[in-house]
Amino acid sequence: MTTTTTSQIHEADVLIIGAGGAGLRAAIEAAAQGARVAVICKSLLGKAHTIVAEGGIAAAVGSVDPRDNWKVHFHDTMQGGKFVNNWRMAQLHAQESPEEIRNLELWGALFDRTEKGGVMQRLFGGHTYKRLVHVGDRTGLELIRTLQDKAVAERIQVFMETTITKLLKHDGKICGAAGYVRETGRFIVFKAPAVVIAAGGSGRIYSVTSNSWEGTADGQALAFRAGAELMDMEFIQFHPTGMVWPHSVRGILVTESVRGEGGHLTNSLGERFMERYDKERMELSTRDVVARAIYTEVKEGRGSPHGGAYLSIAHLPADFVKRKLPSMHEQFLAFAKVDITKEPMEVYPTTHYHMGGIRVDGDSTATNVPGLFAAGESAAGLHGANRLGGNSLSDLLVFGARAGRYAAQYALGAEHITPSAEEIALAEHEAQAPFEATGENPFALQEEMQNMMMSEVGVYRVEEKLKNALNQIRDLQERAANVRATGSVMYNPVWHTALDVKNMALIAETIAQSAHLRTESRGAHSRVDFPNYDANLQKGNMVARYDGQNVTVAFVEQPPMPQELHDLTYNKPEVAAAA
């Protein structure tokens, strides 16, 4: 009933897992280096979660405010990340993102313009100047379409609706990967000395999330199982404004641009409550602060009818709102029958972004496994404990490009080894296992895990809940090992979910363990029992390792920052001369 046909072996120099912004940017760069590239895309091309990014790409191009430069962007990023960012990544990101905007324009992107004919930039929380290059509130779509068109023009090979289930190694080095093609269920094998993981995040581990169904931590899990280290897994960004009503759209993102363009947050008493949490920056405080503020208002009984806060932009002219926030206008009309030019929205925090992920070298994006690279949300480091809005799109461009470049260079000098027949057979056997299993329905198990993680490892964390979560996760892992699939191998969601839940349960453990060990509150990680910063924990990061049996997490200190960066981090850089 379930045997797949004999697997084919495809060859490439660089295999890229993921076709969102980071994956496509990596592919374009690797191809430019002369490497043969294959891109794995879990859905159809152009549907990646990147498109849901609405607000903009943070880059200090200084088109709107000439005082901006990389030093200020670096400072803002380090401050936003609460000083545990990989400082080298924060530096490269701030320095190289303007060039990436230029590349996108050369490939056909059409950003909104200023009156002087430059790119328009908007303000977002935590950024000193108007910095986010954007197209209305559909910037992610513009970015994906531009990269997609460029990749198509460069004739880069894309395997659509294909999922990788295992990385293959030889002598400790990457030699390929294996997985299945959704349509046919056919097993597929790649031979490639370099693999870039650009497979997005893990939001689906939580019940309330802005993430698409694909955010099941596959990329992190693939790397982890192959021996790569994960880092900062406790830092999960709860975006302060997700939709709360109707129930069916709960968690869908309400872009920060609403606040960036002048929206106000109020509670049921009509108070602009941000005054109490960050008087200076108000609604444009960093996401961790705003998320906790909304949570607290609701918790203390000052919430809106469906248990959120009010977010209103109705005090601004309707034309302006429709021009600046067209998708939000449409989204609320279609789903909630709310006209945001007249009425307030109701919002509540939603699981949005994983700052943590695969631990990489800041320059090359290489992991500790030779031949394995990672970029975008799958990787960790740039954002530290809290990501600033707009920094993810610039992240995936800068580090997508770097991953492509360094992976290509590595691959062009590496030996190409054919994965062994035994390894392939084992990978195929593991992928097929749910059809032999007799356990529970994976959909039900997934839902149970999501609810548990939301309640036990959510916005606020505390010792006893984290311990409880760890016990439950181990139980879920055992049960996940035995979830069953029914039906055929062709386009079968229960089979895919059966494989997904194993990954999610493994990654959930790294989140809970890291959260348990970080006995302080920093950025997106809030411990009720440890409400303050711990100066010692500012020196480094939680690093998770996996030996195939057990997950262990340990604190690892970062190398000290060079003096110049240290100064830039803690003191606001002097306003650069406008020139």
């Binding site: 159809l44 091309l45 549907k47 979660h49 849901v52 050369l106 490939w107 056909g108 059409l110 909104d112 313009r113 068109d149 460029k150 198509v152 023009a153 659509m160 349509e183 019940s207 309330v208 698409s212 169904w213 694909e214 109707p246 129930h247 069916s248 759209v249 869908i252 109490r276 949490y277 405080s285 503020a293 949570y295 607290t296 918790k299 203390e300 919430g303 469906h306 959120g308 279609a334 789903f335 509540y348 925090p349 329905n441 959909f443 609810n451 939301m454 959510g458 606020y460 699939a485 039906g487 055929s488 386009y491 079968n492 969601p493 229960v494 809030s526 009720v528 409400p531 303050n532 910063y533």
Partner: protein, 274 residues
């Protein structure tokens, strides 16, 4: 600014988002959905009926995902964003091409079952999933963006507006599904690229910095002339792109003015020789 956790009142036993967001959306009602299922290549398929608990504000995609999780675990359907932004969840609902995630259940007469079937223009892969790969092949034939060398790299919002409308496309292929020219052409012998690709071509042609010439391709290979301006594509576009009016008609005019103009034809010939 609060660097520490400000919630003196938030205790370890804090309520979860699930408890806080009052779930008053559940109703005691149930609705019927009829889903057209089938294996690869099956045209007629079979209708299966399911009873789904109704929640306020629920969209058609919710019913499909509920059936998938509870009653037919192997039910195939495409979706990604559940926010009307990715264009994956296209289907025909009560005979109309729509996004499942943007179609509210309450907008229908709930005494009758809701009928959900795959896009009819494309071959079925399984259940609600169709083979849309043809669209990607057509896409690859379009001449890519080619930056002009002859002017300064600078333009204004009003220069960008027209192209930006075209770039809103989420590639849901609903316009491709509804267009009668496409419905009756075979994939083996494509003569007509379809409204999505006129939108894409127009998006490139309207770009203030693009210097490529796509008229010949539009007129010949992509069969723009076969469109007889029925406006059906514009009506189904979830992004409200005025496909016919703002993309197809201006491109048709350019084809008439520039491509079929004998003097310009001559000049083109000479330029090509150069």
């Amino acid at each position: 600014m609060s660097e520490t956790v400000t919630s003196t009142q938030v205790h370890g036993g804090g309520a979860t988002a699930d408890q806080i967001v009052s779930v008053d959306s559940a109703t005691n009602q149930h609705i019927q959905v009829r889903i057209n299922r089938g294996e690869a290549g099956e045209i007629e398929g079979r209708w299966e009926e399911f009873t789904v608990p109704l929640a306020k504000g629920m969209v058609v995609l919710d019913t499909v995902l509920w059936v998938q999780a509870h009653q037919a675990n192997d039910l195939a359907a495409r979706w990604n964003c559940k926010a009307a932004k990715c264009g994956s969840c296209s289907a025909e609902i009560n005979g109309k091409p729509r996004l499942m995630c943007k179609t509210r259940v309450e907008d229908f007469n709930l005494a009758e079952p809701i009928l959900i079937q795959p896009l009819q223009t494309f071959k079925r892969i399984k259940d609600l999933v169709t083979d849309v790969s043809w669209n990607y092949r057509i896409n690859a034939t379009i001449k890519p963006f080619t930056p002009r060398q002859d002017r300064e790299w600078k333009w204004f919002q009003h220069d960008a507006d027209r192209a930006q409308e075209m770039r809103k496309c989420i590639e849901c292929f609903l316009c491709q599904d509804v267009c009668h020219v496409l419905r009756y052409q075979t994939e083996e012998k494509p003569q007509f690229a379809g409204p999505r690709y006129f939108v894409r071509t127009a998006g490139l042609d309207f770009h203030p910095m693009d210097g490529a010439e796509r008229l010949e391709q539009l007129a010949d290979e992509h069969g723009l002339g076969l469109c007889n301006i029925t406006y059906c594509c514009s009506e189904v576009c979830p992004e409200h792109i005025a496909i016919t009016h703002n993309a197809i008609i201006p491109e048709k005019e350019r084809v008439v003015d520039e491509f079929h103009d004998p003097v310009k034809k001559f000049i083109r010939k000479i330029q090509k020789k150069k």
